[in-house]
Amino acid sequence: MGYDCVVCAKQVPDTKNITGQAMKDDGTVNRAALPAVFNPEDLHALETALDIRDRFGGTVTVITMGLPKACQVLRDALYRGADRAILITDRRAAGSDTLATSYILSTAIRKLAPDIVLCGRQAIDGDTAQTGPQIAEKLDFTLISYLEELQALEDQTIRVKRNVGNGWEVVEARLPVLLTVMNTANTPRPSGAKRIMRFKKAKAPAEVAGEVAAQMPQAGKPEQAAETKNRCDALAAKGLLIDQWDLSTIEADLAWCGLAGSPTKVHRIQAIVLAGGQYRQFQPTDESVGELVGELIRDHTIG
């Protein structure tokens, strides 16, 4: 018995920590200087899934779509207790907007046939909160967004308290469902020391291939491929090979993936350049602050 959960995780640039050092001389953000992190609310989705497994049995599979370096969030998920991790990576998925992304993820999730899909409410790089609801629609799973508390789960029925901003609701639905989880739902468990020791060498084939190419630059393609296969086989024997799927593996219709599958197109991007301001400066002294307040009173802004 138990419930099979799939958690969708995203590796995002840490936009919360845009500091002076992350700004270039021309006043724009140096993206390369931003560390990549596990999207915060996805950690709460993972915690909810782990909690369901601990209480009711079942499995937790974490999937992410991105470049091979996104495996870092998969390893992080394994450290925290996930049973299985899957990287979905494919050049043909590049440029996907939320609609194309939800199509690709839903196609992958369908292969796993879970009872419950969990997503963070939103990702900090775009804040769109669209991908979760769109996956639910594509899978025809009942959508329960803004989970704050899992109240009950029995007989294929889930009861959830959801936070809708100006209040809360208790709702019930039959499985399968897709939950989007708020950061107020729980406290994500830390990585387990033993699990870190066990999974720190876990890698996806694309990472192994990158490593081989870097270590054997002189070798020919067939030789590199053979070495990659050897290393992957060795990892697989130890249960440390992260599953890697591409659009062919999940039998995605390419018309709905990547740029071609994305109805939204970028018309224009304007970098924000911070120009020097024309503000009137007052000093942090009693006198100068008093002068400012006096002026605001005189022109009836305050008082």
């Binding site: 803004y146 709905w256 304007q270 009693d286």
Partner: protein, 355 residues
């Protein structure tokens, strides 16, 4: 997905709960009116619910030429699947070219599922909407009269303009307060159209067992003066200074997203792209660096006073008044100066006093 339809109407999803319209659809009717006039097409509101007839005239007063009403007991309480089914039927039937939603908890639950079902685009949290043209890279075809969907992106380091030229409708969500509420005109005439949709025998997937609502504790949109604190406030305890200054000025307390994340203030107080947009007479930003997302929610304030210890903080690039200094020192000085209001004038004009 529907075909490109240049005669298509501009639609606003008229979000309501328990027979009460939210502010956002009314604000969106103001912007929608402008877009519809530019495109020379009608502006319509789509009203779903049960026993909601009397709301239609209000939507007309705020600018709608037409109101599509679906009144059905299955629509009494909002849930994504049921609303989506009905809404997508209406889109397929009437083929609007633009559809706008409020980026409320309901709108952010609902709009993505509509976009997914229609396989069209959706741009979240737009801070401006315009009509313009687009030429795709590597193409010479000019797409005219498109909805330009403008929003800050990537941590506020860029402003992105998004278009959607082939798979329609063009859809966007907008936060509360971003668009200016139009003045209602009770004499405006509009058509109220009752729509039939096939919900017979339909079983909504979600059972809503309990609903609890609380009144918004904070009225940011109506405040004349707002004192807002950010991460630079440092601690929750220091944040009391923000409250003190606001109380002293009879103003409201706002904050940046960072302050919410740090637990200094409740989400109700958040100002910015993903919070509330405000236009007070005076906006005091203390310990707020001034990231684009925050700026989007307050830059139209009549006067902006920035207090920040970092002279290079972006907030100074669009503030009218600035004090470079520690807010823990500056705010008490301000409070003192305001309390002694009358004396302040003489102090300011007198010879340099003690420091």
């Amino acid at each position: 997905m529907i075909e490109v339809n240049r005669k298509g109407e501009v639609w606003v999803f008229a979000e309501q709960e328990a027979g009460k319209l939210s502010d956002v659809p009314l604000e969106l009717l103001g912007k929608g009116r402008e877009l519809a006039d530019t495109l020379n097409v009608p502006l319509a509101a789509v009203l779903l619910g049960k026993g909601i007839d009397d709301l239609a005239s209000r939507l007309v007063a705020y600018g709608a030429d037409k109101v599509y009403v679906v009144d059905h007991r299955s629509l009494d309480l909002y849930q994504a699947a049921t609303y989506r089914k009905v809404f997508c039927d209406l889109v397929t039937r009437h083929k609007p070219q633009v559809v706008l939603f409020g980026a409320t908890a309901m709108g952010r639950d609902f709009a993505p599922t509509v976009a997914s079902a229609l396989r069209c685009g959706l741009t979240a949290d737009c801070t401006d909407l315009q009509i313009g043209e687009h030429t795709a890279p590597g193409s010479t075809q000019v797409h005219q009269g498109l909805l330009l969907q403008i929003r800050p992106a990537f941590g506020g380091s860029i402003i992105a303009t998004i278009v959607n030229f082939d798979r329609w409708p063009q859809m966007a969500t907008v936060r509360e307060g971003v668009m200016v509420m139009p003045t209602p005109d009770a004499h405006r005439q509009g058509q109220v159209l009752r729509e039939r949709v096939g919900l017979d025998g339909y079983e909504p997937p979600l059972k809503i067992l309990e609903i609890h609502r609380r009144e918004k504790k904070v009225d940011l949109k109506g405040a004349r003066v707002i004192v807002a604190g950010g991460a630079g406030v440092g601690t929750k305890d220091n944040f009391k200074l923000i409250w003190e200054l606001a109380n002293c000025l009879g103003g409201a307390v706002g904050c940046s997203r960072a302050a919410v994340d740090l637990g200094f203030a409740d989400k109700d107080h958040q100002i910015g792209q993903t919070g509330t947009t405000v236009r007070p007479v005076l906006y005091i930003a203390a310990g707020i660096s001034g990231a684009v997302q925050h700026r989007a929610g307050m830059e139209e304030s009549a006067k902006i006073l920035a207090i920040n210890s970092d002279p290079n903080a972006p907030i100074f690039s669009f503030a009218h008044y600035g004090i470079v200094g520690d807010l823990k020192m500056v705010i008490p000085k301000m409070i003192k100066a305001i309390r002694t209001g009358a004396k302040v004038e003489s102090l300011a004009t007198a010879a340099p006093a003690r420091v």
